[in-house]
């Protein structure tokens, strides 16, 4: 058994072919559960990193076909959204997978995602929400507590769903919650946004895109798609640093300015450790000023566990526990105790009450 089979295949380098069918099957299962099968299709077809046997390539092509169909749906939604935003005279700024895909970045190729994520200035949230209502985007049903919680503490509105087409839209006004120990100035992100050539869409500046991805992964607490998100970071870093020799310095300065040095430190550290991202020593060195005091060995253990492919062939007896600890950590980072404790008590109470009702 080769538990790191998928990690090996997510590295941008040519591979020796696997010669056992059971290992191809294992790779297929790991890639599917980690949500990167269509990304492997792209590594095969565009980067020519490996030569799959026919029975494996069928699955890659099928995943690619499905990804393309999702991309068509998203493009149509983006077009519709852009019409609304044009009327409002507000920039349509895309985030995460939606942004990678619309800008034609390598990180967008074969990248599947379920929601469309956009960034709107906080003072315009209501305008946007009200306008979208007339175009069929309505908030999903949610109790008043959760709704108030979103509005007061989160960095996004409760998700909207299109009443006819069923697609889901997340409107953010920042990239981390208002209660988080790191809360960048959204003004800076909005000001630096760049327009995608020949479209009506905007995306975050390259450095901000990486910092967002890093904050999302290392402050988020959910690792079901962790390895895929790390692979996003790997691809973004490779592409941006290849386009712009000043990228690493800009990235460092930008992290400093936005107060996102620590997530950047983790991103660079684990992208190198897990996926072998080629990062200059100077850039790694620069980020170490954000490293925690002496607890890197603990964090290494936890993150290396959590970022394994989400498949049982990769998990040992402590993987689940490590993920749980990181989940707790994310709550700790994102909410001060006077908000966190009442919130958890309420959630626990209602879960209990709900279970009692069922039995």
């Amino acid at each position: 058994m080769m538990p790191d089979l998928l990690n090996e295949y997510l590295m941008i380098k040519a591979k020796d072919s696997i010669d056992s069918n059971s290992d191809w099957e294992l790779l297929l299962r790991q890639a599917r559960s980690a949500g990167v099968l269509s990304r492997l299709a792209f590594f095969w077809k565009k980067f020519r990193l490996f030569n799959p046997p026919q029975h494996f390539s069928y699955h890659l092509e099928s995943a690619e076909t499905y990804w393309l169909s999702q991309k068509r749906i998203v493009n149509w939604e983006l077009y519709n959204l852009s019409q609304v935003f044009k009327l409002l005279n507000i920039r349509l700024i895309l985030l995460k997978g939606t942004a990678y895909s619309a800008s034609g970045l390598n990180a967008g190729m074969g990248r599947v995602f379920s929601d469309i994520d956009i960034l709107v200035p906080k003072y315009q949230l209501k305008t946007v929400k009200d306008a979208l209502k007339w175009h069929g985007w309505l908030p999903e049903s949610m109790d008043n507590y959760d709704r108030r919680y979103y509005e007061r503490w989160m960095h996004e509105l409760p998700p909207l769903r299109h009443i006819k087409r069923g697609t889901s839209l997340d409107i953010h006004h920042n990239i981390l919650p208002q209660t988080c120990n790191l809360y960048p100035d959204a003004e800076l992100l909005l000001k630096a946004a760049v327009k995608i050539t020949d479209t009506d869409y905007w995306v975050l500046a390259p450095e901000d895109m990486v910092l967002h991805s890093a904050s999302h992964l290392f402050w988020g607490g959910e690792f079901e798609n962790g390895l895929r998100d790390l692979s996003d970071i790997d691809l973004l870093l490779r592409e941006f640093s290849g386009n712009d020799p000043g990228f690493w310095d800009n990235l460092h300065n930008r992290a400093e300015m936005l107060g996102l040095g620590k997530p950047l430190f983790y991103a660079l550290r684990y992208a190198t450790k897990i996926l072998g991202t080629p990062i200059p020593d100077s850039a790694i060195e620069a980020s170490t000023i954000y490293a925690g005091r002496g607890k890197n060995r603990v964090m290494d253990y936890l993150f290396l566990q959590a970022l394994k492919p989400h498949h049982r062939s990769c998990a040992d007896s402590l993987t689940g526990f490590a993920r749980w600890l990181l989940f707790l950590r994310s709550h700790w980072l994102k909410m001060p105790l006077h908000i966190l404790v009442p919130h958890l008590i309420r959630k626990a109470w209602f879960r209990l009450a709900d279970n009692t009702k069922k039995t």
Partner: protein, 238 residues
């Protein structure tokens, strides 16, 4: 699953570590397994244009039998494969996007409600699973696929004939041509992944309807008559 292991035993369908459906009573395990396998194919095998239709073969030519539940497509399919036709599938017509040929998935034929006794009485020498009652689709019984069809699972067939069957008691046999555009729309409507395939789905469907004659077919349950008619129609193709 805890206490369920002993009390009102249930069965779970898992696709690797993903569990797409709620568990069902243990008695439904076999049909549940068949539905689950169909779900795996229709959700993950986009190298095919997949149409919800039975499909059988004779002399290398495929006859596609699409039909809404209750139209008698599975019954007709069960009868045909006991009458010299080869079973490609009773549920999923897989059209290879690259070649336009139908790729077989010879698995048990799923018979529902009234058709169970009709088929079991007409072909008593076939093997049948126990009848499972009270499923989502009523009573279900699975018929073992012919050994010959299973051993020829790797032999594809050229689609030549599309027949939309409709069982009507005490009717006289009727056959009427369906225009290609109409057949296209009906098949697209019955496809599991037509929209996933986009332009390629359209092109594969064009190829499919162009290589086929399409008919509406009303019959009263006379299987031999139906089979003879289909043989004749296939002979007329090319």
């Amino acid at each position: 699953m805890g206490v369920r292991r002993f009390f009102r035993k249930q069965v779970l369908f898992a696709f690797d570590q993903f569990i797409p459906f709620k568990p069902l009573p243990y008695a439904q395990a076999f049909p549940f397994f068949e539905w689950g396998l169909n779900w795996c194919i229709s959700g993950y095998s986009h190298r095919f244009l997949i149409v919800h239709a039975a499909v059988v073969e004779r002399n290398g030519k495929a006859l596609i039998l699409p039909g809404a539940p209750g139209s008698g497509k599975s019954t007709l399919c069960a009868a045909l494969i006991n009458n010299g036709w080869r079973l490609l599938s009773d549920e999923l017509t897989l059209v290879d996007r690259a070649t336009g040929y139908v790729v077989p998935v010879p698995r048990p034929v799923s018979l529902k409600n009234e058709s169970i006794s009709v088929v079991a009485d007409t072909f008593p020498f076939c093997q049948f699973s126990p009848v499972v009652h009270d499923t989502l689709k009523g009573s279900v019984c699975l018929m073992k696929p012919p050994t010959d069809s299973v051993s020829k699972a790797d032999q594809t067939a050229l689609p030549c004939l599309v027949v939309f069957p409709k069982y009507q008691a005490e009717s006289s046999l009727s056959l009427s041509a369906v225009a290609k555009a109409e057949a296209f729309m009906r098949l697209a409507d019955l496809s599991f992944n037509y929209s996933v395939l986009g332009t390629q789905g359209f092109e594969t469907m064009v190829g499919l309807v162009n290589s086929c004659q399409a008919y509406d077919f009303i019959y009263d349950g006379d299987f031999n008559q139906a089979s003879d008619l289909f043989v004749q129609l296939l002979d007329d193709v090319r």
